[in-house]
Symmetry: C2
Subunit: 124 residues, 2 copies
DNA sequence: GTGGGGCCTGACACCGGTGTGAGGTTCAAG
DNA sequence: CTTGAACCTCACACCGGTGTCAGGCCCCAC
């Protein structure tokens, strides 16, 4: 399928799809005229990429990870080495840390809210 | 005090202190020669700014918020209006949403890790 | 008055995914 | 063949707090 249809079916902009290719995440065939020609599996693959982006992984990490996953369900296309799983666990830890930091931030903000909401209302 | 001393006492770089001024978060006096001259309260104020940055607020929001807080303890310098507390609660909600998103991301990553860690180890 | 450390302004880089636009080519339907 | 939509590449901008450099001025102790 063409880039426009893929964009429509995934909700991802054409610009982003071209960027994914630039980053090595997609490798569509080309027509004689140079237009990108994606296989049907690209839809799942793009959704998977979005999932990983949403998890906070960067292009480089995703590029290293994708070859190890089936496009359709994200299952392992081959067993991962210890190094890969270690990387993933590190990402997981990073997310955990972010969550803890945000909890702290929320508490700070709660304190500010409590302090601010007492008075008579002079401050914009 | 001069910017160097303030930087040392807060652990914030001189660059950042100048940036805070640019954003309207600090307004130090100037010597005849143009050097910044901070009052002692600036130390607390800068720490407070850092606290709010850590909570994910941007300069603009902090600039709107600071006039409503005492420098030393962060208590209200005047009662906040409904609009301000509403803004703060919106920030709080934003953080909450981020936390929930990160939980989802972590679950996604856990799924990937589970799926990847089964096989014989072919994938880098 | 002079040396040297501290400070000044201004400017560019970074990160990384995305928006946007220019200017040109291809494709498919009429 | 023509037309118009879809597509191509290339390039710049954004966000926002911070690092860093260049070139020059201030301030204080000697």
């Amino acid at each position: 399928m063409r880039i426009g249809e893929l964009a429509r079916r995934t909700g991802v902009s054409e610009r982003s799809l071209r960027y994914y290719e630039e980053q090595g995440l997609l490798a569509p065939a080309r027509t004689a005229g140079g237009h990108r020609d994606y296989p049907g599996a690209a839809v799942d693959r793009v959704l998977r990429i979005q999932e990983l982006y949403a998890a906070g992984l960067g292009s480089r990490r995703i590029a290293g990870l994708l070859p190890c996953m089936r496009d359709d369900d994200g299952g392992p296309s081959a067993g991962a080495t210890a190094r890969l799983t270690e990387t993933l666990r590190a990402e997981r830890d990073r997310i955990d840390r972010s969550i803890r930091d945000l909890h702290v931030s929320r508490d700070v903000l709660d304190g500010v809210i409590d302090a601010a909401s007492g008075g008579p209302g002079d401050c914009p």
